[in-house]
């Protein structure tokens, strides 16, 4: 028998947030609040406070006018001001100021002119006509983006100043939601950045920090989220207040799920489902109403030796209402009838059962109460044929759901779906894409296939756009009006962060050329200049995505795979 290959088991801090963090910086941090008042003993030996500060934090010096965070960015870290002041804009700033793409629709003549103005060479760029209100510079091994003329852009009456010692950005980091404001350095500032893993552990071991963040969340986000929940809309402000006081915020799964996604794909499906964190287990006591704030959950039930996917729930959906309503109406004790598992990263609110029974059920119209659950045993007695068909509001069969879940296609709001039974492989879609992108196609007509449906390799403009996390210049961003994820070619520095993050490999790095076809190279290093490219849904064209318009056989459509109505239409 061959002897096993011996490797050092990967450790949590193999890759620190910033390798430049040394003991001197850690000692300095331990002298200031909130770290000075933390009890190092509470952290134990596995995750010591010093280790957290050294490996999950970094210190950044910002210059006057430099953007610290941008509104709309998906961040994965929180910030603490060590010295200096930062300016928070109370208004939404225009996309061009933040370094984002600002697609302008082509007019009739510009559209027509594409027929003869498209480049002969691939990936041709012309950067001579750049006109932006932001400036990029490279220093300290990172790209910096500055707002030019800050007082004009962020006026004193429409801004707030953050002082030394203040925390910010923690909610977006913990709840994986977009940043709600843009923060700019006011003069020179020194800022500590804590990545979400470190923040989570700091909160776990330091009750003061946990309470502080919890309070911020309850103050600014929780009540508005509860008010937006359909089931709770008939409740009074006072009742919402009382529910908010009892609600727990919980997170499941890995924030950086995309990193492990590819490796996890190689595992057996049973193992993959088994590894997914359980939010609610079938057969257990229903301890509350679950509201999904972010991410996707798998609804499953045991079937044979594994778990069968029945449906999935996404942002804004609830779980457990039926069981709770049944128990409240009948006085019986029925447990969860299905399991709820976190797929990737999930962020939920759990309203305890007693709070639902006390404040929700007596105050909602009876029409909102669901039908009683069928008699016990009825569900498990269903035939295997029925199990394959529609169930619990799920419009499509179980196999397709498994396919969409396994490949995380449920994340896509504009997935390119091709019906291969109608597609003649004529490539009109590819040619149309190329013709609207200066002769450079922005997708690949290949991809994962289920039965006759293929999800082609085009950006899906995801619900959870992990590609946007970590972009140093904010070049990749979500358009506030359309929701499309687009890249600003002018501010992209070619770092590949987005391309590496995309779990579907739908972002491609290309080396750019000038109009004569010569490669563009960096003045200092002489290396080719790379840019991230992907489908932008033809946001500068009239009439929507050219690929869809060009398909003569009704085979290609851009569809929202997180929308059950569209799923039913296409796969029902």
């Amino acid at each position: 028998m061959n002897s096993p290959l011996k490797l050092e088991k990967p450790q949590r801090w193999d890759t620190p947030f910033d390798e430049r963090m040394d003991d001197r910086a850690v000692n300095e941090l331990l002298q200031i609040d909130p770290f000075a008042s933390m009890d190092e003993q509470a952290f134990g030996t596995n995750v010591p406070l010093r280790g957290l500060l050294k490996n999950d934090c970094r210190i950044t010096n910002y210059q006057d006018g430099e953007i610290v965070i941008r509104e709309g960015d998906y961040g994965n870290s929180a910030f603490l001001i060590l010295s200096g002041e930062l300016l928070v804009s109370l208004d939404s700033l225009p996309a061009n100021i933040l370094g984002r793409a600002t697609p302008k629709k082509k007019n009739f003549f510009q559209t027509l002119a594409q027929g003869w103005t498209n480049s002969k060479h691939s990936e041709v760029r012309n950067y001579s006509d750049q006109n932006s209100d932001c400036r990029i510079s490279n220093a300290e091994d990172r790209a910096r983006i500055f707002i030019q003329d800050v007082p004009r852009v962020i006026t004193a009456d429409r801004s707030e100043t953050l002082q030394t010692g203040e925390f910010f950005g923690e909610l977006a980091a913990l709840t994986r939601s977009p940043r709600t404001a843009t923060v700019v350095s006011k003069g020179n500032a020194r800022v500590l950045e804590v990545r979400w893993q470190g923040l989570r552990d700091l909160m776990k071991r330091d009750s003061a920090l946990k309470n502080h963040i919890d309070q911020i969340y309850r103050e600014f986000s929780l009540k508005s989220h509860l008010r937006e929940t359909d089931l709770l809309q008939s409740l009074s402000e006072d009742q919402i207040e009382k529910i908010a006081a009892e609600t727990c915020l919980e997170t499941f799964g890995n924030f950086d799920w995309q990193v492990q996604f590819k490796a996890a794909q190689k595992k057996d499906i049973r193992q993959r489902i088994h590894d997914e964190p359980v939010i609610a287990e079938r057969g257990e006591y229903p301890n509350g109403l679950i509201l999904i704030r972010n991410g996707f959950c798998r609804l499953s039930r045991p079937y044979g030796n594994g778990h069968q996917t029945i449906s999935y729930l996404g942002k804004g959906e609830t779980f457990g209402f039926r069981e709770l309503a049944h128990n409240w109406q009948t006085g019986q004790q029925r447990n969860w009838s299905l399991s709820l598992r976190a797929v990737g990263y999930v962020d939920i609110l759990r309203i305890p059962t007693f709070a639902v029974e006390q404040f929700v059920f007596p105050n909602i119209p009876s029409s909102k109460l669901p039908a009683l659950l069928p008699a016990a045993g009825t569900i498990s007695a269903r035939s295997s044929d029925q199990q394959k068909k529609k169930r619990r509001g799920s419009p499509v069969n179980s196999d397709l759901l498994e396919f969409l879940m396994d490949h995380r296609f449920i994340n896509g709001t504009q997935a390119m779906m091709i019906d291969m039974n109608r597609c003649t492989r004529c490539d009109d879609c590819v040619r149309a894409c190329a013709s609207t992108h200066d002769n450079n196609p922005r997708f690949v007509r290949q991809g994962k296939q289920h039965d006759n449906f293929m999800i082609a390799g085009a950006c899906m403009h995801c619900v959870d756009p992990v590609c946007m996390i970590g972009c140093p210049t904010g070049a990749i961003g979500r358009d506030q009006n359309t929701g499309y994820v687009t890249i600003n070619d002018n501010t992209c520095i070619g770092c590949s962060t987005c391309a590496n993050s995309c779990p579907y490999q739908n972002i491609r790095m290309v080396n750019v050329r000038d109009s004569k076809g010569n490669p563009m190279v960096d003045t200092h290093s002489g290396e080719p200049i790379a840019k991230a490219t992907k489908c932008d849904l033809c946001s500068d064209q009239q009439g929507g995505p050219a690929c869809q318009r060009a398909c003569p056989h009704d085979a290609l459509y851009r569809i929202d795979l997180s929308d059950s109505e569209q799923l039913e239409k296409w796969f029902g």
Binding site: T111, N421, R425, A432, S435, T436, Q449, A550, G572
Partner: protein, 276 residues
Amino acid sequence: MTRQRQLKIRLICSLALTSVVTACLVGLILWQRANLQNATYTSGAILLACLFFLAGYSLRKKIPFASFAGPSRFWMQLHIYVGLSTFLIFAVHIGFRIPDGILESTLAILYLIVASSGIYGLYITRTIPKKLTHVNDEVIYEQIPVIRQQLAAQVHALASSAFGKSETIARFYVNRLSPFFEKPRALAYIIRPTTRESRKLQNEINQLDRYLTSDQAGLSEKLISMVQRKDNLDYHQAMQGRLKYWLFIHIGLTYSLLIIGVVHGVMALAFHGGMR
């Protein structure tokens, strides 16, 4: 409403609309004839306009960025139903008789070839995609030669590894595998692809199993899967190629038809009053 249902409703509505419009046009021509007017010019003009419109779809495809031109699927639907209606208009135009002049005969034959190729195209664009979907290996047409070359190299490497140990494999590779992987398929296969040859080869590989040494176990399975992959590639090439070459012929003939059609129209107008 599901997509399938939408498509069925569209089919029924389109057929109904085409029937009504065609009936109106034919009715107009017949009404002119009944009133002793020269209806041939009307039917000819309608027919020529239809042909230009049908050829216009090719131009629409060349400007995919032009959103104002409408989606291609809409054009495709119009192309199909206008094309179908031309059959009846053509029949009325020639007066349900066989043309006798050289130009008219050439034009009629050309029209029939183009129209038939259109019907054939409709048939293959509706049937071949399903056949290709049944084959597991989805492949892009332009990549097929490269993939085939890689596959041939893999088979060569696999067989070479057994050359020193087994003469059986060496002989089988030279005589049977190498021609299958390296030579293009015969015209008969391109016209009507079958799995006969690959099945035969797979059977032979199975037979070969008993002549192999124990350390060559598993070789036959690998070879069989490679033969299957090659067969799938050939099938894709034949069927995708058919779709591409059909379009090439259909469009090429359409332009010839348009030119001769215009000549016919000019001559018909020039000799409007007959020879003087």
